[in-house]
């Protein structure tokens, strides 16, 4: 008998007043009863619209059915057939525009909480597994070496799938920690780092070797990798180059790219006193942008002691690309949404420290190329008194690989060109994730990594047949 409640089973959360003083996870997850009750809301539709909304085709009704029966381990196995990072995706996927957007229950009420259930299965499995010794699941090697550039979501999923197929995989990571945006970008209160570490350990348990502190394009080039005997290379180097606004005053002290701010906080642990990493703990902070990264930066600033944090966004709340849950949580935490506002100049004192930011007041006109209504200046201006400005208006792919790889075609934004989504213009070189699409989501990058693993397998097998 289906649970016909219109709303999702609520998930417990830390009280906003308490959580703005810590970096522990905001949402606390379902218990067994909550999960089974929520699973009963799934109608087990035969045409499975939710699956078509998932970039990696998680068998959603099947795993939810297993949860409903209390077969949590079975549910986990069903998810991990197609998704190697379920604890991550359950937390950071934009479900409301993917699987849950297609859910039939969403027509009259809230969709089934697919993301929360996915997270529940992964967390429950991890809690059990943490009590058991680590088992190496290394398969017999087929003797062929593949190199993966970047230990983010695309690279890790590609590496995991290739290892399962018997390849000897080395992942080259430029930073001192694997995980890419999962480590440096997404804060611990949204994605606890022990979860990321666990998921990376799972990939290592498959026999994947991760070589840190190695920058492809500097330490080694793609051509060096072929000389070292790698038969194929996957580029999953992401989109890490931050965009700035190009307005006067942007190099003042106290103006951060969101990448810098979040890296200082998340990767370099500036919020913990025992770490040397410095960061400005400003009282009044503006964050420019309307995506998840802007929300993350704003909520970090709040936790670092800011009295006022304003999200400055040139369109209205409806057009914000952030997950609805993040906007909701940000508002609960007292983050102000300064909508229809577009910065034009940042002012600083004689020492170069930010004092204020002048903005145009905007209005929405006709829809633009993105389908969203175009923001236009009204002629009015306003000034925000702030000591720090965090710019979160997007990123583009890092240029180091394209600058050092002859014959690798890229487009005008620096994204790697592919013929079929993953095959590049260089033989034996494949690419996926943000390096190809520009900044997108964790799940799309993982999907591309898996697709590339298949393409690499096909390529290396056909090459072997040709002798």
């Amino acid at each position: 008998m289906a649970n016909m409640q219109k709303n999702k089973v609520p998930m417990p959360e830390q009280d906003p007043k308490i959580r703005i003083e810590n970096f522990q996870e905001v949402t606390l997850g379902y218990n067994d009863e909550d999960a089974m009750l929520e699973a009963q809301r799934c109608l087990q539709c035969k045409h499975r619209p939710c699956v078509s909304g998932c970039p990696v085709n998680v068998q959603i009704p099947a795993f939810i059915h297993a949860v409903e029966k209390g077969a949590f381990n079975e549910a986990y196995q069903i998810i991990t057939e197609t998704n190697s990072l379920p604890a991550v995706c359950g937390r950071v996927c934009p479900q409301e525009s993917q699987c849950e957007a297609k859910c039939v229950r969403g027509i009259k009420g809230e969709s089934v909480a697919i993301g929360r259930l996915e997270r529940f299965c992964a967390d429950r499995h991890r809690e059990q597994a943490n009590n058991q010794p680590i088992t190496q699941q290394t398969r017999a090697s087929n003797g062929k070496k593949v190199a993966v550039c970047g230990a983010g979501p695309a690279g890790l999923s590609c590496a995991g799938d290739l290892a399962k197929l018997g390849y000897e995989v080395t992942v080259f990571e430029s930073l001192h920690t694997a995980g890419g945006v999962l480590q440096y970008g997404i804060p611990a209160f949204r994605l606890p780092k022990d979860i990321v570490d666990y998921e990376i350990q799972q990939v290592k348990n498959l026999g994947v070797n991760i070589q840190l502190n190695t920058i492809i394009g500097q330490t080694l080039t793609i051509d060096d990798l072929f000389e070292l005997g790698y038969g194929a290379v996957f580029i999953g180097s992401g989109a890490g180059l931050p965009a700035f606004l190009g307005i006067p005053g942007e190099n003042s002290c106290g103006v951060y790219s969101a990448n810098e701010y979040l890296t200082r906080v998340n990767l370099m642990k500036a919020y913990l006193n025992e770490y040397d990493t410095p960061i400005l703990r400003s009282k009044h902070v503006a964050v420019v942008g309307g995506g998840n990264v802007a929300m993350d930066a704003a909520r970090c600033a709040k936790r670092l002691g800011a009295e006022t944090v304003s999200i400055v966004y040139r369109r209205s709340e409806e057009e914000m690309p952030a997950r609805r849950e993040e906007i909701h949580h940000a508002k609960e935490e007292g983050i102000r949404l300064q909508l229809l506002t577009n910065p034009v100049e940042i002012f600083a004192d004689e020492n170069g420290n930010v004092t204020s930011m002048r903005c145009d007041v905007m209005t929405l006109g006709e829809p633009d190329a993105s389908g969203r209504r175009r923001p236009m200046p009204t002629g009015e201006q306003m000034t925000l008194q702030v000591e720090a400005v965090i710019i979160a208006v997007g990123t583009t792919p890092n240029p180091l690989i394209r600058m050092t790889t002859p014959g690798l075609e890229t487009n005008q934004w620096g994204c790697v060109e592919t013929s079929d989504g993953v095959t590049t213009s260089r033989e034996g070189v494949f690419a996926g994730g943000d390096a190809v699409t520009g900044a997108a989501t964790v799940i799309l990058a993982m999907g591309a990594g898996k697709e590339a693993a298949q393409a690499i397998d096909t390529y290396l097998k056909s090459k072997e047949q040709q002798g």
């Binding site: 930073l175 440096y184 502190n213 330490t219 790219s257 040397d276």
Partner: protein
């Protein structure tokens, strides 16, 4: 982990270490840098590669123990290991095709200027080195520099080595005596690079300077190291670290380098660091 195979203490604040890093040694070129993290809780600090030996698979680094993280690095001894080391980063200095160059180093900047002078000299270029230090006790690399240039001028702020003056004085003197340089390479504290650049601009001599902003990743990811060059934002880590000295906004660089000064912990921290000085007495004759 990256093992320290040799350590020389050059003076009370400055160490010279040789570190096992074969991949980096294999690729390193003059002007490039590395980023290291001494231990789990340290900052990532950029240091220019002071030398490299492809056969031994080692690089050498020279640093001043002035901040929390460089002091932690300074506490490591021969045989100890640095937790993380990544590089080589940045673009190599474009040094080919010159026949007469002046290399100007200020203090620790000499550690960066030395491999450039050596490369030029080894490739048949006439090299004049102007090396400036606070006092006689702070002089580093004198023998090394002497071995890789045609003329070496060592100057001290206090005259304790018998040659009082700033590097700008030495350079101006030679230019006024009729020396002609195709290129001046100036490496040292921003204030020194600023004044060398002002001087060479007057004489119309092409000038490279090596930027030393605050960095995190060193691969273009954080944008922390942005500098204004010719009115445009450049990232020192991937677009540099060398830029046209006549186009760099040094005042902005100095302001940005001071951004975290208020957060420095402990007394005396950074008192020796010329990177952070806003005012230096410049003698204009």
């Amino acid at each position: 982990m990256f093992r320290i195979v040799k350590k020389n203490i050059l003076n009370e604040t400055t160490d010279h270490i040789t570190v096992e890093a074969p991949l980096i040694a294999n690729k390193a070129k003059p002007g490039q840098f590395i980023i290291l993290r001494t231990d789990e809780k340290s900052e990532r600090i950029p240091l220019t590669i002071a030398g490299y030996d492809k056969e031994q698979g080692t690089i050498s680094l020279i640093y001043q123990k002035i901040g929390h993280s460089t002091k932690a690095l300074g506490a490591l001894m021969e045989g100890d290991a640095i937790l993380d080391l990544a590089g080589p980063l940045g673009k190599p200095t474009a040094l080919d095709g010159y026949t007469k160059v002046a290399v100007v180093g200020g203090g620790l900047g000499c550690a960066i200027a030395y491999p450039q002078a050596k490369y030029l000299f080894d490739h048949g270029c006439d090299v004049t080195v102007f090396a400036g230090f606070r006092s006689r006790e702070h002089i580093i690399l004198e023998q090394e520099m002497k071995a890789c240039c045609s003329h070496l001028h060592v100057l001290t702020d206090d005259g304790s080595n018998g040659n009082k003056g700033l590097v700008t004085d030495g350079l101006r003197g030679c230019i006024q005596q009729g020396e002609t340089y195709e290129l001046v390479i100036a490496i040292g504290p921003p204030m020194m690079m600023k004044f060398v650049s002002l001087l060479t601009k007057d004489f119309g001599i092409k000038t490279f300077v090596s930027m030393n902003p605050i960095m995190i990743d060193g691969t273009g990811m954080c944008g922390c190291c942005r500098v204004t060059v010719g009115g445009k934002i450049k990232f020192a880590c991937v677009d540099g670290p060398d830029f046209d000295g006549h186009a760099v906004d040094f005042d902005e660089l100095m302001r940005r380098n001071r951004m975290y000064l208020a957060q420095e912990r402990g007394p005396g921290r950074d008192e020796h660091c010329n990177l952070l000085k806003q005012s230096v007495t410049i003698t204009q004759d």
